[in-house]
Amino acid sequence: MASELQLRVNEKMVAVTASPETPLLYVLTDDLALQGPRFGCGLGQCGCCSVLADGVEIRSCITPVSKVAGKSITTLEGLPGYYAKRMKLKTAPELHPLQEAMIEEQAVQCGYCYNGQIIKGAELLFRNPQPTEPQIRSAMNGHLCRCGTYPRILLAIQRASKKVAAHA
């Protein structure tokens, strides 16, 4: 049965009405009209739907909304603000350094998987501001890209890492 749930999404408290087992993805896309997380497989296999829950990347398509009550959810839209908070910056930048680096490398093609690529890459850079190439490859291995842009995502993470390391 549907019930009212309180969620913290991009640093704001929101109330939604949904049955507790509803995957978080459908709440984010249908009730909150967010465009970062998106449907890719509904099976947790591809990473299109990724969000951060207390800074940890999760697959919103297989996470029941009730499981994230009390956690702080960050979507692609809220990533610059969350970055500012984590890095203790005075003002939130317009874009996370990895979002900027994706533009600078002209990495994106269709961009559908980039929600997950950026969320996962950002998670990695919080944890490890200067990852080695094998560490990047290992961290990103669960995020599929069918346009074949992996080489440029790798370059963008390396580029962003310089900026993140300077902030850290």
């Binding site: 949904a18 049955s19 509803t22 995957p23 459908y26 896309t29 249908d30 009209a33 967010l34 465009q35 970062g36 998106r38 449907f39 890719g40 497989c41 509904g42 099976l43 296999q45 591809c46 299109c48 979507t75 692609l76 839209e77 874009l95 979002q99 994706m102 533009i103 002209q106 994106v108 093609q109 269709c110 961009g111 559908y112 998987c113 980039y114 929600n115 950026i118 490859r137 290992s138 990103m140 291995n141 669960g142 995020h143 599929l144 890209c145 069918r146 346009c147 074949g148 842009t149 992996y150 080489p151 440029r152 995502i153 790798l154």
Partner: protein, 792 residues
């Protein structure tokens, strides 16, 4: 405009009302801006297209603020085409890139384009350039009158026309024609078939800018879609929601069966099976079954839970038995090419033609999926007198034709708008999703959003074609090819969507009942080599009884070039020649040689006979060469793109795993309007090609497809990707010929040849999975063992 209101289409008032009530939030602004852009031409946005291609207004509108909108009909599929179109228009009109805007592709707004077959720049760009040249001439004529100065004495920059040497005298395009129509007819560029350019004949056509003067076309402009894509502001079809909409899901069997023999037939639907999910509506039309609900999760659950009993499917050969089945099939055999006398050389090897070495081999490739990241999605709002449909179809006017059949409405009463999905690379399930949404909206009387599941998308895809080929070749003592034969087996493609078959009972039709169509063997794919005795035979299998196939990026080319280039590599090895040297000895066309040189130079290729450096180590390294194109003469005439690739791989001889380490891909696509975007395409094709070569295969049992998710359909993962070095061979004076497909087959071929170099074992089947590589190494060992035994 009383005349225009009499034209067919939704009456203007109703149309605006329909749009206002249907398009919510972000998309309203978008649609409104498109309508504003259309104010120069009263008809645009209010009547059904496509507009007349012989009118400048159909392509270009000038706004009072001295900006321009183009209505090209070509869409963003992720490959940056619209950025290149804006460059072409800006260049020809002497505007800056940021003064040119595009609009959403819409059958009430745009010319009739189709974003496939690498046509955006090659065809759409050529048409647009001609229209822009006409537009510029009209504007300069007007400026000449306004400034009382002959046209020859005028110069244009950023859309400001001024008098040479007198900068104080100037007028902008916006001042001259902002918000008004050109009302200018001209001879447009037209095409036979899909894309064979017809020469223009009118001597009064506006001259186009000399290529040597290009500043924006040919430059590395950043793609305008990327900032919104990284921030989450970009609206994909999957994001669009409209008021009053229901969430729909199809309920079809899990995975397709044999096309034309296994049309799903409903035996029964157990409505009780979803009784615990409130408010779900079941849609049934013929054998089409779907569910819809206000909450998306309810629709998802209902689609999973609804018990539908289907008639058992007819038997399929199974993916492992497929190619034997092809060979045994009754075929229609066509000799596609027959130059010289292949048999004379082959049968008389001691004779005057002196074949020093001969080789033969069978090569096979699997069905492969479009594998869209985003399963397809569409929204339809069907009313009695018209419909608005939002979808990700590559060709919205073709989509409209299909919808008209489904809905029984005149095409002009259906407005189709394009919203981007993810990569599609050809005919993925966008047509199925679009028609499914229309069927369900019509039945339910409400707007319906249909989102395919991952399983729907894989299960009902039109796969890239499976292929079987027997090759024979002979070289002389100098390594010149003296005879070459390619015999191919493949089947045709369906012409009917599954949605229309289910809903209307439409007969399963094939686009070519004898097989072939897009998937026929092509003369052009072999004639880059100078071969005196050459024969290509196409064994065409009727399409029924196999999987649905369709156009998947460079259709048929990956298996074709895998076979052709493996055979060339084999012949080079037999002639004890370095494979690049072998290509140079047998190819004289300068543009093919150009891409081969570009790729091998970048890879610092050092001449060496393949497999001449074998090692006893567990991990061995090899490198290989391949060439590729995508060329269908019936579609493209003599417009050809040339591509070559070098691959470096590691092979683990213990477990058979092949790891691609580096791909160097070179392309000559004539004028590359944006070389940076073409480089990005080479990177994408190199990774996609690696994935096709090593991982991707649609599996099926004796009834259904069984590759239904990312575990059962493998794709190259982040941790497995090779480095890629892209090289664009810029030829500014040549026609732009397309850059989205051609490197792909070259990469598949180069990887196979690199595995041979590393191991001395020739792979005859892809994907080159660890099991297949191990089996091939084992077979080679036992063969050489028996040879040794024979010698003793």
């Amino acid at each position: 405009m009383p005349e225009k209101e009499k034209r067919p289409g939704l009456p203007r008032r109703n149309f605006l009302k329909a749009t206002g009530s249907l398009v919510a939030g972000f998309s309203a602004a978008d649609t409104l801006s498109a309508q504003t852009a259309g104010t120069d031409n009263g008809a645009r946005g209010t009547v059904s297209g496509p507009p007349d291609e012989a009118e400048v207004d159909s392509y270009i509108a000038i706004h009072p603020d001295n900006t321009v909108t183009i209505f090209s009909g070509y869409v963003e599929l992720g490959q940056g085409g619209p950025t290149a179109l804006r460059q072409i228009a800006a260049e020809e009109l002497d505007l800056d890139f940021d003064q040119v805007a595009t609009v959403r592709n819409d059958t009430f707004m745009c010319t009739n384009g189709a974003t496939y077959a690498s046509m955006t720049v090659a065809v759409g760009g050529t048409k647009l350039r001609a229209a822009a040249a006409e537009a510029r001439r009209v504007l300069l004529t007007m400026a000449s009158e306004r400034l009382k100065t002959p046209v020859e004495a005028l110069i244009v920059a950023r859309g400001i026309v001024s008098v040479k040497g007198g900068a104080q005298q100037s007028v902008t395009y916006g001042d001259l024609l902002g918000g008004k129509a050109f009302n200018q007819k001209f001879e447009p560029v037209s095409y036979r078939a899909v894309g064979v350019e017809v020469p223009r004949t009118n001597p009064n056509n506006a001259p186009q800018k000399a290529r040597a003067e290009y500043k924006i076309a040919g430059s590395r402009v950043a793609r305008f879609d990327i900032p919104d894509k990284v921030s989450g502001k970009y609206t994909y079809m999957q994001h669009v929601r409209v008021p009053g909409m229901l969430h729909g899901r199809i309920v079809w069997p899990r995975g397709q069966g044999a096309y034309g023999m296994s049309l799903p037939k409903v035996i029964g639907i157990d409505e009780e099976s979803i009784r615990d999910i409130p408010g779900v509506r079941i849609v049934r039309r013929g054998n089409f079954v779907g569910v819809a609900a206000e909450r998306q999760w309810d629709a998802v659950r209902a689609a999973k839970s609804l018990k539908v009993t289907w008639e058992t499917f007819a038997p399929l050969p199974g993916s492992d038995g497929l190619h034997d089945h092809f060979r045994a099939a009754k075929t229609k055999d066509l000799v596609v090419a027959n130059a010289g006398d292949f048999d004379a050389v082959w049968l008389d090897r001691e004779g005057p033609r002196q074949a020093a070495h001969i080789a033969s081999g069978t090569y096979i490739g699997p069905y492969q999926s479009h594998g869209t990241m985003a399963p397809n999605c569409a929204i339809a709002d069907v009313k009695e007198d018209g419909a608005l449909v939002m979808c990700s179809d590559q060709a919205i006017y073709q989509a409209r034709t299909g919808l008209a059949q489904i809905l029984g409405l005149p095409a002009a009463k259906i407005r189709v708008q394009y919203y981007p999905g993810s990569n599609t690379f050809g005919s993925s399930c966008y047509g199925e999703a679009t028609q499914a949404a229309a069927i369900m909206s019509k039945e339910l009387g409400k707007p319906v959003r249909v989102q395919f599941s991952r399983e729907d998308e894989f299960g009902w895809d039109n796969y890239g074609p499976a292929h079987l080929a027997d090759l024979r070749g002979a070289v002389d003592a100098d390594g010149k090819i003296v005879a070459f034969e390619y015999q191919a087996w493949g089947h045709g493609s369906p012409a009917t969507t599954t949605a229309s078959q289910l809903a209307l009972g439409a007969a399963a039709a094939s686009s070519d009942p004898d097989g072939g169509g897009l998937f026929q063997l092509r003369l052009s794919q072999n004639d880059m080599y100078d071969i005196p005795n050459r024969r290509l035979i196409d064994h065409r299998i009727p399409g029924k009884g196999y999987m649905r196939i369709g156009a998947l990026r460079a259709p048929l080319d990956p298996p074709y070039f895998f076979a052709q280039e493996s055979m060339m590599d084999e012949l080079a090895w037999m002639a004890r020649l370095d494979p690049y040297e072998f290509h140079k000895r047998n190819i004289s066309h300068p543009r093919w040689l150009g891409v081969l040189k570009a790729a091998t130079d970048a890879a610092k290729w050092t001449p060496r006979v393949s497999a001449s450096n074998l090692s006893g180590a567990k991990i061995v390294v090899g490198r290989g060469i391949g060439i590729g194109t995508h060329h269908l003469p019936v579609n493209q005439g003599d417009r050809i793109t040339f591509a070559a690739a070098v691959a470096e791989v590691e092979v683990n001889k213990d477990n058979g795993a092949v790891s691609a380490k580096h791909i160097w891909g070179a392309i000559d696509c004539g004028l590359a309007v944006n070389p940076a975007i073409v480089e990005s395409q080479i990177v994408g094709m190199s990774i996609h090609g690696t994935s096709l070569a090593l991982k991707e295969e649609v599996r099926f049992d004796h009834a259904h497809v069984t590759s239904l998710d990312w575990n059962t359909y493998q794709t190259l993962r982040f941790g497995e990707h090779p480095a890629v070095t892209p090289i664009v061979v810029q030829r500014i004076d040549e026609r732009s010929s397309g850059a989205g497909e051609e490197v792909l087959p070259a990469v598949v071929a180069a990887i196979g040849n690199a595995v041979f170099d590393a191991t001395g074992v020739r792979m005859h089947q892809f994907p080159m999975t660890p099991a297949r590589v191990l089996a091939a190494m084992e077979a080679a060992r036992s063969l050489s063992g028996s040879r040794r035994a024979g010698e003793i």
